[in-house]
Amino acid sequence: MNSLFHRQCATFTMIFFAFFLYCATAFSEPFVPGGDIGSQTENGFNSLGPVVEQPIEFPHNVHAGQLGINCMYCHTYARRAPVAGIPRLNKCIGCHQWVASVKDKPRIQQLMEYWDKKEAIPWKKVHDLPDFVRFNHERHIQRFVFQENRPAKEACGYCHGDVANMVTARRVKALSMGWCVSCHQKDHPISATNSKTTNGPNDCWQCHK
């Protein structure tokens, strides 16, 4: 009992020191949030985002994987619009009316039904940023695919993950602010030929609207 008082003091001091040390280290080293998400999803999936029920269970693994179709063949708006967009129905039909082999597959049947009804397919958003965020696919595609000549799979994959191995797309990256900023602060070569590098814009209004 007698010496309790000093030990108590010591404990206090040690706690304080520990805290200061933590702050010092934390502030001097950038705090990198997990590139792969855990807590970001509502119904906490440890490595993948939630499975999204789509009107048609679209097999990315077949189109992007086995057939190796370029992302931007279907998501054609990505290079010229803020949103990558979903291929218009007649694009799907454009190919599938000639693909006899799968004509009787249930998915294709569904597809044809929509086409006959001349009705747009109500696809669900998988990578849905908050409404105050202005993300522009065009800028990123222009920079990384057309200027740096990276393969679309890599450029798109950085945010969308390895879609070629998914059936319907799932969100695999945090897409949180720190996650964006961590990349915007890196230096990227301005083009494949040029060794000069710049980092992404750090101005709030580039992404916040």
């Binding site: 001097s28 950038p30 202005r134 580039q206 916040h208």
Partner: protein
């Protein structure tokens, strides 16, 4: 986030005053000119602003409390002194007042969370989702052009199907955040994006704000001050108003001025004096 990062930007953080030719080498510095001689006070600009920027209609009671949200307001004065004239014999004095996008903005320095800051284009940004609603910026704004969401306006402002009019490029602000005129930044961003893809700068007249586009008397003109060939840059030059000066030495005949220049806010909005014939 890193300390080094902070220390590197410390100088920029403390830089609160523009200097000569600050925007010489940058692509854009958005600026505006309002010709008070042409302005007829018709309210077209204010309505255009409501339409473009998702401004909520607050209704009678809230309006009466002084909680209206017009980013751009038309002020009407009967005289410049402190004595009301018997008859306004030279007409009324109209003043379209929006955020002046100050170069040394009093609001920027005081925001605790940096929700309002200066963009490379010389705009005075407002990041809604960062704002915690301390209202210090509004307290410190000499022009009182910052508007606070005193209630959750979206709840009542757009009964279905009125909400179909909302502009998807502009956030709908909810309870407790500050907002203000943005020089229609969504239009600027779009124009810059198009220009950049084509590997060029935004050309003069390619983009303009909603108010300038609507104004039937073309009293408002908007453009890029960093580009000396643009219309606004020419007008600023011809009116001998320098962005980075807090008092202008002009010769006779120029009628450009900035409001509260002596407070060293360095606004980006140039007003042209209202010409009225005294002999009449």
């Amino acid at each position: 986030m890193s300390l080094s990062n902070l220390l590197n930007n410390w100088a920029a953080l403390r830089e609160t005053r523009p200097y000569e030719d600050q925007y010489k080498n940058s692509d854009y510095k958005w600026g505006m000119v309002v010709d008070l001689d042409a302005c007829t006070g018709c309210n077209a600009c204010t309505t255009a602003c409501y339409a473009e920027n998702n401004l909520p209609v607050v209704g009678k009671e809230t309006f009466a409390k002084g909680q209206v949200m017009h980013w751009l307001r038309i002020e009407r004065y009967w005289g410049d002194g402190e004595q009301l004239p018997e008859f306004p014999e030279q007409g009324a004095q109209f003043l379209p007042m929006m955020c002046q996008q100050c170069e040394a903005a009093p609001c920027e320095v005081v925001c605790p969370v940096g929700a309002t800051h200066h963009t490379p284009d010389g705009l005075n940004s407002q990041v809604y989702n960062r704002c915690i609603g301390s209202r210090y910026c509004s307290a410190n704004c000499p022009y009182k052009v910052r508007y606070f969401n005193w209630a959750n306006y979206p709840e009542k402002a757009w009964p279905n199907p009125l909400e179909m009019q909302l502009n998807p490029d502009v956030t709908v602000r909810t309870k407790g955040v500050m907002e203000k005129c943005t020089f229609c930044v969504q239009r600027l961003t779009e124009a810059k994006n198009v220009a950049r893809t084509q590997g060029r700068k935004v050309a003069d007249g390619e983009v303009t704000t909603a108010c300038a586009q609507a104004c039937p008397a073309s009293a408002i003109s908007f453009g890029n001050l960093a580009d000396p060939t643009s219309e606004v840059a020419k007008i600023w030059k011809q009116q001998q108003v320098k962005l980075a000066k807090d008092h202008q030495d002009k010769e006779e005949g120029a009628r450009g001025y900035r409001i509260f220049e002596e407070l060293r806010t360095y606004p980006s909005v140039l007003y042209l004096e209202r010409v009225r014939d005294n002999e009449v």
